[in-house]
């Protein structure tokens, strides 16, 4: 289901964490999700001609979401034109000690994916001459990636996550700051109020089957 509905990635991931011993609360959430699905069966992703194959990534995290082990969630979305092609939401493997660190870890996952997608696009003859733009709504996380300062608060971060630094240095990705309002990956990491959900959903290219035919 999540293969065509990025808006379901977060609830699906959340629910599947409790598959082994679900409680009534989870049942309630599951029902809520099913109702949502029923109301949105006619939503699909539209892939339109927006005049250029340009990959743009968004990365976000939710710090210490899991109450059991205080691990954070990372999420990323990649768009081509006006539609999402690739998304993921995953509980992080290590405990992040700050929001910036959580962002940094999810940035590393997104960077890996960005590099792979970039290679695929090059294989398909779509030259991505400039680095893939990766948007993140945490300035400190970007600062860690750009500049190995703040040693006191970052020295414990696992080596593999510092891959972001190298990717940025080698011009494979380009990190940008974006305010939370336009952070598309928000939808992967947290439950959102209706208006926000609908806005982000639209930004990911999800709309009704009949809507575009009229245009």
């Amino acid at each position: 289901m999540t293969t065509t509905k990025p808006d379901l990635m977060f609830p699906a991931g959340l629910l599947s964490m409790f598959m082994s011993s679900p409680s009534n609360i989870h049942m309630g959430i599951a029902k809520r999700v099913l109702k949502y699905i029923r109301g949105t069966t006619d939503l699909g992703i539209w892939y339109l001609n927006t005049g250029g194959v340009k990959l743009i990534g968004y990365t976000d995290s939710d710090w210490a979401r899991s109450v059991d082990d205080m691990k954070s969630t990372s999420g990323y979305v990649f768009n081509i034109g006006s539609s999402a092609i690739c998304w993921n939401a995953k509980k992080q493997e290590v405990v992040a000690q700050s929001t910036a660190e959580a962002e940094y870890i999810s940035m590393a996952a997104a960077a890996n994916q960005a590099i792979w997608l970039n290679k695929l696009l090059v294989d398909l003859g779509q030259d991505q001459s400039s680095p893939t733009e990766l948007y993140c709504d945490n300035k400190f996380a970007i600062a860690i990636a750009l500049n190995p300062v703040q040693h006191g608060r970052t020295k414990h971060i696992n080596v593999k996550f510092h891959y972001v630094r190298e990717a940025e240095k080698n011009l494979l990705i380009k990190l940008h700051y974006c305010p939370t309002d336009v952070q598309l990956a928000d939808i992967m990491t947290k439950a959102l109020p209706r208006s926000r959900l609908e806005f982000l959903r639209m930004k990911l290219g999800l709309s009704k089957a009949s809507f575009k035919e009229e245009c």
Binding site: M1, T3, T4, K5, A30, K31, L34, K35, I37, R38, G39, T41, D42, L43, G44, I45, W46, Y47, L48, N49, T50, G51, G52, V53, I80, G81, S83, A84, I85, C86, W116, L117, K119, L120, L121, D123, L124, G125, Q126, A209, K212, E213
Partner: protein, 281 residues
């Protein structure tokens, strides 16, 4: 409810024999088995031979399946000969068993590309794909029930091509199709084992995304695409499903440069199993 109605509704149970002896009671099943044997023979799958002393033959069995039309009437009796692959020994009878499949990310990437470029995406399917795989290992199977060659009862079949149920059938098929694509001038992507491209000076011409026996084909050159279909049909038995509308549970509509896909069928299953049809929106 009258008993006849019950029988009527239980026709699935009646229509599917579980073994060879049961199947021989109905003419349609005998015909189905004959047609399966014929297609195996035509395919050059095996040759009757003596079993070498240091080898062991593997058993085969018949599997029967009734295919129905959407209205519930019988469409086809299908008999398939399968190898009891569980008797194979890892490392001796087979090595790798997997066939790579396309990632959903790649498929969506392909859609995005097709959307941007205004290409159409076609869906092709290879009939009985696994039977096309060429075997590297030496494998002997018993003669199938009901089709033992008179006078040669002790002999076994040596397999040249794969049969369903063989552990290495998917792998053998992937090697076969991979070689075939490369012969046709396609280049396999280094980053995705199921993505094949054909390029020339003018840029990208054709892209194929392989999903075991199904493939999505798209590209800028409509003439080459037609040629590719014919080339494929010469070598394999193919279903040409035309412009893709349903693939891996993704529905897909093509409205002049506009594409959509969502899981129509999948949703139906979900809503049924949870009684969602009664839930208020």
């Amino acid at each position: 409810m009258p008993l006849s109605d019950v029988y009527q509704r239980c026709n699935i149970v009646h229509a599917k024999p579980t073994n060879y002896i049961e199947a021989t009671r109905v003419l349609a099943w005998i015909e189905a088995m004959k047609s399966e044997i014929n297609s195996i023979e035509r395919n050059g799958t095996w040759r009757l031979t003596e079993l070498p002393e240091d080898k062991k033959e593997i058993g085969v069995k018949w599997v029967f399946k009734t295919k129905f039309n959407p209205d519930g009437s019988i469409f086809k009796h299908k008999a398939r000969l399968v190898v009891k692959g569980f008797a194979q020994v890892a490392g001796v009878d087979y090595g790798d068993t997997f066939a790579p499949v396309a990632r959903h990310d790649t498929i969506r990437l392909l859609f995005a590309l097709a959307g941007q470029k205004g290409w159409r995406v076609y869906h092709l399917d290879v009939k009985s794909a696994f039977l096309n795989g060429i075997l590297l290992e030496e494998i002997y199977v018993q003669q199938p029930e009901g089709f033992v060659v008179a006078g040669n009862e002790h002999k076994v079949y040596k397999l040249h091509k794969a049969l369903y149920g063989l552990k290495q059938a998917p792998r053998a098929w992937y090697s076969r199709i991979d070689t075939h694509f490369i012969q046709l001038g396609f280049k396999r992507s280094e980053n995705e084992a199921t993505l094949y491209m054909k390029q020339d000076e003018d840029g990208l011409q054709l892209v194929i995304s392989l999903y075991v026996d199904a493939m999505l084909v798209t590209g800028s050159n409509a003439k080459l695409l037609e040629e590719f279909k014919t080339e494929m049909q010469d070598v394999f038995e193919m279903f040409d499903l035309g412009i893709m509308n349903y693939f891996l549970g993704m529905e897909y509509i093509n409205v002049v440069r506009v594409f959509l896909f969502h899981k129509g069928n999948m949703l139906l299953i979900y809503s049924r199993s949870s009684n969602l049809s009664h839930a208020k929106k």
